[in-house]
Structure formats: structure tokens, C-alpha cells
Amino acid sequence: MGLGLLASRALRSSRIFTSPVSRNAIVRTIVSTPELQNPEASAAAQSPPEDLPIRTPVAGARVEFTNPDDAIEVFVDGYPVKIPKGMTVLQACELAGVDIPRFCYHSRLSIAGNCRMCLVEVEKSPKPVASCAMPALPGMKIKTDTPIAKKAREGVMEFLLMNHPLDCPICDQGGECDLQDQSMAFGSDRGRFTEMKRSVVDKNLGPLVKTVMTRCIQCTRCVRFATEVAGVQDLGMLGRGSGEEIGTYVEKLMTSELSGNVIDICPVGALTSKPFAFKARNWELKGTESIDVTDAVGSNIRIDSRGPEVMRILPRLNEDINEEWISDKTRFFYDGLKRQRLNDPMIRGADGRFKAVSWRDALAVVAEVIHQVKPEEIVGVAGQLSDAESMMALKDFLNKMGSNNIWCEGNGMHPNADLRSGYLLNNGISGLEKADVFLLVGTQPRVEAAMVNARIRKTVRETHAKVGYIGPPTDFNYDYQHLGTGPQTLTEIAEGRHPFYSALSNAKNPVIIVGAGIFERNDKDAIFSVVETIAKKGNIIRPDWNGLNVLLLNAAQAASLDLGLVPESEHSIESAKFVYLMGADDVSLEKVPSDAFVVYQGHHGDQSVYRANVILPAAAFTEKEGTYVNAEGCAQQTLPAVPTVGDARDDWKIIRALSEVAGVRLPYDTLGAIRNRIRTVAPNLLHMDERQPATFSALLKPESGNKTSSTPFGTAVENFYMTNSITRASKIMAQCTAMLLKK
């Protein structure tokens, strides 16, 4: 959009200039605007326009002046624009509504200034300047559509295209390629290069990123991304001149959980998605704005689908949650949606084999069995991918059946659902940037929530915040202190005996992040009370700063605790006669008695189906509308991108239908009606895309008298790439596990 505007503007101005000159321009040179031969004269001829049409900043760019004294005024094409000191010329132009073409500049990465595409003319400067690297100075007069600037861009584009192969028809970036777009807008209509093009050997970066290095224009965005955001020093620049190339120096795979993002930031087709290679063109795809459910971060994603297939997943910009990155798991697990799907209701016969039946029969069998057992023997477990609506329906249904043993897997048997601050990331993900000391208790954010880890890394990189870590030895991509492995270290800090205590108490904005893996421990309450002691002593919970955070693991956890999915008794599953698993694959089913009747409602044949007596096929998150609450308490919605497979139904519809067959009809028939019901239980789930912070801090909780055990903290996520039923079905994730996790 912005580029198109600028291009049309450039065309318009060129038309004005062409008319007088074209009369004497007999020999047509490579420069499409012949008056560029004499830039000084044409620049002098241009007088500042009298009445300026209003320009709006590019892409809603805004600026906040923290200190009004710092504001300086520059002129972009004659428009005065106020910017804070320290901004670059390019940012000033963006604020003035001029989109400057660029390849190497990326707002979230450091400035390299090596592509030279953003050259603009600055008055009293002898040469065009690279606007991305030039700080704006007071009173600077920037000209973006003068003949000099145009000629500079044309020349740069010609150099860039010199060694760029002409394989757009077979390039996966085709249609969304910056070089393609900008050469249409700013490039020359012919090239003068007649020699052989350079070719570069492709690099093997692993199963996710496909490289065609001949297409590389050496913008070094990927190198900067890898070192700055992903925190791996894998990529680098080798050679000089036309021998310059991006590489790993020694042949090695890119072992970062964020490596997929280099596909997005690569302006050309040098780095493309390997699983998506030659699968579809971007203009064939239908984009659906949705939410990622593979972890508790709830990254904003766009699901690109073609017909009934999810073709790829891309990040969506959300400054508060994932900025514009997503983890590799989020980006590449989509092929799991096409494998191991449950597509028909099935009943296990007397011979132990499953038989596909109609929904009528399946629901009738379940309804009959659920009436034969005692209410207290009914147990319901929601899986880690369940949406809030279906969990509400499940809870209402089982409550109507007389049972109150419903919980969500991963929350443990004594979840603290009373105080929202007890299970949320109270600072918010973006709030972590203000912190100066981190204490990670039993959590490995790099594998549990890669986007939160990226935020911590950003903070550490920018403010040199200290990070202390208690837990099993693990891999961080920033500097950290390994304080200990178990609760003893935590007790030492609480008693002030540990050296880290002083760092914590001297910090301005200290942050403690407790991993949700602790929920499964028996001494969970004791650990939390120790952590709260530290919080009290270190003045971590203040009215303006609640630095005591819990980092959840699964997408469904926060919503389930908001809805109060708390089991009534601890050992309910050991005496259960009827177990309703709503996509719960990580619940341990060994304890379920062998005569219990297990109903599995879900979308993948994963771990629990093999114990199930009845299988009810449900929709995956790409196929249904559902509300998910992320770790920081922000309710977000998924939208259906593709139709359900086979005879599957939405989760809440299955429970609603089952309730009617069982004779306890739930009073809602639409999603809207369920949301009205949710409003009475947890109204915060209806405030979409808005973080609802906890109102009370966890300090109101009475201290528990339990003792902490000396068992060291465990790892909550063994394999980053395989955490739920969809990722376990995914071939790409299996490849990643095999290739990237081997040590």
C-alpha cells in the first residue's frame, strides 16, 4: 500500500518532468527519466509546493514524546514533522507518511545500512544518504522523491538485481517478495548486466528453513535476527565483494526455537519455508486471523489455508504478546492437523476393536453408561487444547450429572483457582521488559514458552538484567546464574542466606517467574508460600508492580482455572467408573480402573484413544471458534480456517448434544449463549484481546504449613517440538526432534 502510493507519486512527478525534456532527448539511456542526467538543475527548478495535501504516517506509525524538550523538527518533502531526538531519517519519513524502500532495515533489529535502498536526498549533503542509518538533525530538509533519490534507488536496484537470479516463477517468495515489489516500483525497466551471474552453494539449515543462497542480497537481516533475537550465533557473513555470502562457517544446523522467523524477515526468496516449498502460492491462500494453542503464550497467528488444508502459519503483529515472531513449533506443527485425525464416532466392541458408528449410536451408548454409574464416580478431564466454551459446557454437563470432578490436565490436583494472580503472568509479557532482575523458579522458558523467553532475552540484552535460575541444568540463550536445582535454594533465598537475595532485594523491578511444572508437585503449596515469602521480603509485590508470576504451560490452563475446573477429590480418577476425556492426552491413565468406561472426545488419535471405549471426533483449533486465555490473562479467539474433517463436530456441540441424549439438556444452543453463561462465571473471558490483570495479589493467601520436599525441580517440557496431540502427529516436528534435539 505504502509502496504503491510512493510509486504512483514517483510516476506522477516523473511525468511532470518528462514533458519539457523529452523533446530533446533523442538517445534514450538506461535511466528511464532522462532529466536525471542533470539532477542539480532539476532540483533547483523544484519549488516547495504551496498547499500540501495531508499525509498520514505509514502503517499507523506513532510517536510518543517522553521529554518535550527532545523534540526536533525536520522537513520531509517540505512537510514539517516533529520527532524525538535520536530518530533516524527513515523513521522521520515514516512519520511524515513517506514509505522509504528498504531491504536491510528492520525496525526490531539493529541497523546495518548495507543495502543502500533507502537512499534519500538531504539538503546540503553532497551525496544521497542512507536514511536508515542517518540520525535526523534539527531542521534537516529531507527529499524523498527528487530525481537524485530516484536515480539512487534505481542504481541500487540495478546492483541488487545484478546477481539476483531471474527465477521468480519457481521461487516460493514470489508474490510476497520485497525485491519483486520494489523493483516494480523503483527499479529500472532494463538491466545493463551481461556477464554471468554469481552462484552460491546452498546451506543446510535443518528441516525448517530452505536456503537458495544465490537469491541472497546480503541484507544480513537473518544474521542480525539470529544473534539479536534468537540468541544463537549460528549465522554470519563470509567473504567480501561478490564472494560475500551468508553461512554458518562450519556446516551446522540452525538450532533455535525461533529459526522460522528468518523466513519472514528475509526480503527475498533466499530463506524460505522447507515444509511449504512448492506447496502453494501466497495469492491462492485464505488468511484467517487466529491464535496459537501449542503453548500458553497464545501467539497471534494467521492461518493460511487453501480449501480444506492448512498450508502454513504466519505470525501476526501483537506488541504485547509475540511482537512479530512466533516459535518454530507454532509455525510448523500444522502438518499434524492432517495426520492421525479422528473422523468418525467409534465404539469399542466386545472383541476390543473399534467400530465406526453413527453419532446417534455413539451418544446413546455414552448416555446409557453415564446413568449407570454413581455421580461421584464420574470424572471429566479437559485437555490442554480445549477452548473455554467447551470446558464450560463440560463442567455444566458433569455438574448436572452430579459430579464435580472436572479438571484440566497440567493443573495438578490442587490448583489454586481462587486468586487469578496465583496462576497468571502478572507482569504481562510485555511488562517483563521493565524488569531488571529475573528469578526463574523451576521453569525453562525457552522450551515452555519461547516467546516469553524471547522477551526475557530482549530485556537482558537491552538492560543487562540479571537472571537467576533454579532448576535442572538447561540451555539458555542469555547469561544467567544457575543458583540451584531444588526448593532448598529457594528457601535459602527466602531466608536471605543466598547471594542472589541481595540482587533481588536491591532491584527496582524484580520479577519471579514460577513454572507451572510445579503444579504437579505434592509440595506445591509449600513452594508457593516460600516464593511469596521472597516476594514479601524483596518488595516484589507493590501496588504498581506485581513481580510474582506463574508461567503456564498449556493453552487451556488459564481459562480452565478462570472457569473453576477444580477437582473435588484428589483420588477421583482411581475410583472412577466413567471418565470423560476432552482431548486429554497427557493425563496418566494407568490409575484408571480397568472396568471404567472411558470416553475420548478429541481430534487426534494420540495416547488416550487406546484406552477409550467410545471415541467422539471433535474439531481442532483451526476448525472451530473458541476462546483461549493466555498465560498473562488475555482472552483471545480462534476462528475456523478450514472445515472439520470427516464426521467431526465442535467440542461444545458434542457435549451439548450428549447432555440432551442423557436427559440433562444444557440450556444453550449457540456459542453466544455459552458465552452468556461464561459471563456469569468468568466475565474476563469475554473481553477479547485485552489483558485482564488479576485484581488481588497472591499475598492475600494464608500461608500453608506444609514443608517443601528436597526433590529437585523437574523439566516440565521434555521435548520442545512435541507437547500436544497435534505436534505429536506432525512429521515436521518429528524431524525437528530427530535432527535438532540430538546432542
Partner: protein, 130 residues
Amino acid sequence: MSFRGVKVPANSASLEEARTRVFDFFRSACRSIPTIMEIYNLEDVVSPSQLRTSIASQIRNHSHITNPKVIDMLLFKGLEELNNVVEHAKQRHHIIGQYVVGRGGLVQDLGMKDQGASNFLKNFYDSNYF
């Protein structure tokens, strides 16, 4: 065998004449049933008597009509339809859909099971999208 030459005479003078014409039409339709069975391969789905019943019921649907002009119009439509069927202008699934299965659809006998069920449940059994 074509009915192309068959023409409906201008108008029936009386109800009595219209009535005899209807019977004539029914007879000619019944006579063409074996041909229809053969060209559309209907042996395994339907018997001639069922088809006869189906035609008769279509005629009985209009039994209340007493206006000879309307009867003539309906007869013409019926003749046209019969002509199309006999000329193989239709396909097998048309015949099955219109005269064998009928308007109720294939699952008409299941209606009894869902008696008392809410619209939600009936829709649920049909598809996920409602």
C-alpha cells in the same frame, strides 16, 4: 418409443372427459414402466409396482382438482415429464431421487427416532455447520 407425436387435444369439454384422459395417461405411463426400468437400470432399486404406486400417488396428489382446464394443464405437464423420462433425457439419479426415494430423502424412516429431540440435536446429527 417416443411420445413426441402424442399431443394433448385442445381442451377437455367436461370433467368427465378430463377424467378419462387422466386414466389414459396413467395407462400409458404404466406401459412405459418396463422401458424405464430397463434404460435406467432400476431393477435393483425398485419394482414396477412401486413405480406404479409412485405415479398413482402423484396423480392422487391432485385429486381435489375439479377444473378441467387445470387438469389438462397438469396432464400436459405429466406427459411432458413422462416423455422426458422415456427419451432418456434424465439420468438415473433423477429417477431415483424423484420417484424411488421421494421427497423425504433416504433417511425418512429415522424421523421416528428423533421425536422429542430439539432442533439442535437434529441439526447436530446432520452436520457440524448450522
